[in-house]
Amino acid sequence: MDRVPVLHFDGRTTRSERGWVAVEGDDLVLTVGGSERRFPTRSVSFTPAYARAPARIGFEDGATCEIGSADDYNRLRAAARRGTGWAERLETRWRYALGALVLVVACGVGGYVWGIPLAGEVLARKAPPWVVEAIGRSSRQQLETLGFGPPRELLTDEERHVTARFAALLPPDAPHYVIEFRTWHQRANAFALPDGHIVVTDGMEQFARGHEDALLFVLGHEMGHLYYRHSLQSLTRASLLSGAAAYLFGDVSSALAVLAGGLGSLHYSREFETQADDYGIALLRSHGISTAPAADLFDRIEASGGNAGPQKSRPTTASGPHRVDFPGYLSTHPATSERTAKLRSGNPVPPEIDPAEPRRAPVPADPQ
């Protein structure tokens, strides 16, 4: 092969010297400063070739040579039978890059839709009881600072009644739970803490007064959160998600990373709420109880403008009662109209009464 012009550095000083390199058989011949040296080709290191930067070959004695022309370098590599490594080949052809892009996007989507939820579920199931209890305890300690009164010890008749009815509805595999009735300045809310305590506020009770079935649904919804261990899952999902977002976007902008993590977590949160809704719906309807009263309850709460339903935070509208449907992507819960539609459709239908037939009173047991 022809000689290739190089810039030689002896590795002991930064002085540059022009020279030549050629491949002869299994050796690389370096001609510089009037002298000629031979190195076995396999002992020479070749750097990957970049588009606008000189490539470099390195010798055992610490010397290096810079080759300015990409053509020269490729000729040299071909003659030395030291082709590009597999990584370099992947990194220099667009078809591999685009293929990699498709796969990475697929992994990203797959990770978000299946991977992180799966990891969350597994971790939540495996969480040792002391972890669950610790989280529950610290959450309960915070309730006081958030304005919640202590759990009431003396229950009203209505409260005892709904507690008993609820207990009767539950399947045997329902997790352990305790219902607490707390005051919260008349605001409506209900939530489940990971250690099994379900909190119902005085505001919620007021909205549900006279509609016990609606309150049953609320309790069922919260039981759904407990059953699926949603608080633990949301903790693990949120951490995994924010870790991934920080890795992907952190170098460019921490604001972007937080935004991505936040929006992603909100979607997960809506997923959980839907799952809890479904649990509550299944629980009630399997006993022939309609969930339509629950839909009315949510509508009432929202129409009154206060914190509506079992939700974490809703900015109150300063200008008075307002039916507002938040765009779904922003809310921790799916839009209320979506939920009430689901609660109203599909309820067990009471047996049809033929208006032609005379109304018969229920037949008591034979008096004989």
């Binding site: 550095f9 002991r12 290096t64 890059a97 990699a100 972007l256």
Partner: protein, 393 residues
Amino acid sequence: MTSEVIDTVPGWDTSAVPPAEGPKEPAEATRYHIEFTGSGSEYFKIWIVNLLLTIVTVGIYSAWAKVRRLRYFYGNTHLAGSTFDFHGKPTSILLGRIIAAVLFALYSASPRLPLFLEVVIAVSLIAIFPWLFWRSQKFRLGNSSYRGVRFRFMGALGGSYALFIPAALLVLAPQLLFQRLVIGRPPSEVMKWLPFQFLIFGLELVLFPLFYWALKRYQHAYAGFGTARFSFDARIRSAYWMMTKILLVYFGSLFVVGLGFGVFGIVAARNKPLMFALLPLFLIAGGLSLSILTAYATTRMQNFIWSHTALSNQPIHSGVRFRDVFKVHVVNFLGTLFTLGLFYPFAAVRYARVHLHGISWRGDPEVFAAHAADTGGATGSEFGDFLGFDIGL
């Protein structure tokens, strides 16, 4: 000037070797500018393949990915006709990352453990951090080379402790203590401790420029290239002056962002649909004001550090302009936002270019000699042994 620095600065590693005898700066020394020739499309291919392989190997390939990335950026940084090179071994980096992961797991788990263990873990982490930092400086510089001659880090381990332990004791420990006292307590109790937090915050503000100056001095004054040495001649008061200006810009941007939130809040209260339509706009505006702060801070800090650094009396100059850096930040932010992150490699290349193009150096690149201990071959196996792992600080 350089010899003064050696005699008066504690922590100098004198086992390093013979006094630098760099040539006197010749009267007509040429000014060489650093040029960066990387391109976004070229780096995109490297980056996407790195990302895929890292995902597929559950992170193990990330060490090889880091080496390939550094070699790309070093190899496209030109000075006086030659480029830089990076020699770090992926296995060392992998080991370092595993160690870092273990330490991080310990740190995350500690709040759940009994208080005694938590304190032991915190103290141990604070105790080994300066050592890890010192090792990573040696690794990074020792594995970087130019024209076959390696850089070196000659700072003593004691210097690293002198730098970090006071900061840990004066600021970090009180801050952690405060957090422990305050978490989970009702607001009334938190209020009681608030003056303490302000005190810590004030201490941070006052001490940060000093810490920053000391950190840069530790990193630059003890750096070497072959047998030559770098020097750092920035004054503490210049650091304070610079940080004060950055702080003012910071407060300015906070004010603007606060104003924006206020406007947003008013709109939100009056007209919800308009609020949602405008929300993306507000978020982008917020990101942009953050860019102003970041661009200003990085420009000032880079110019400050590098214009006060010299190699063997041959001065380095950094003259990056705020408007250039700001433009790069804005385009990068918007580009990454609208491509959901795919713009990242283009952004990285653009950052590198704008920051590197501002640096120039007046001197003779032909006169440097490698340090005796470094000339052991291109593989530098003794480096592999000594610098067993790199935690990448």
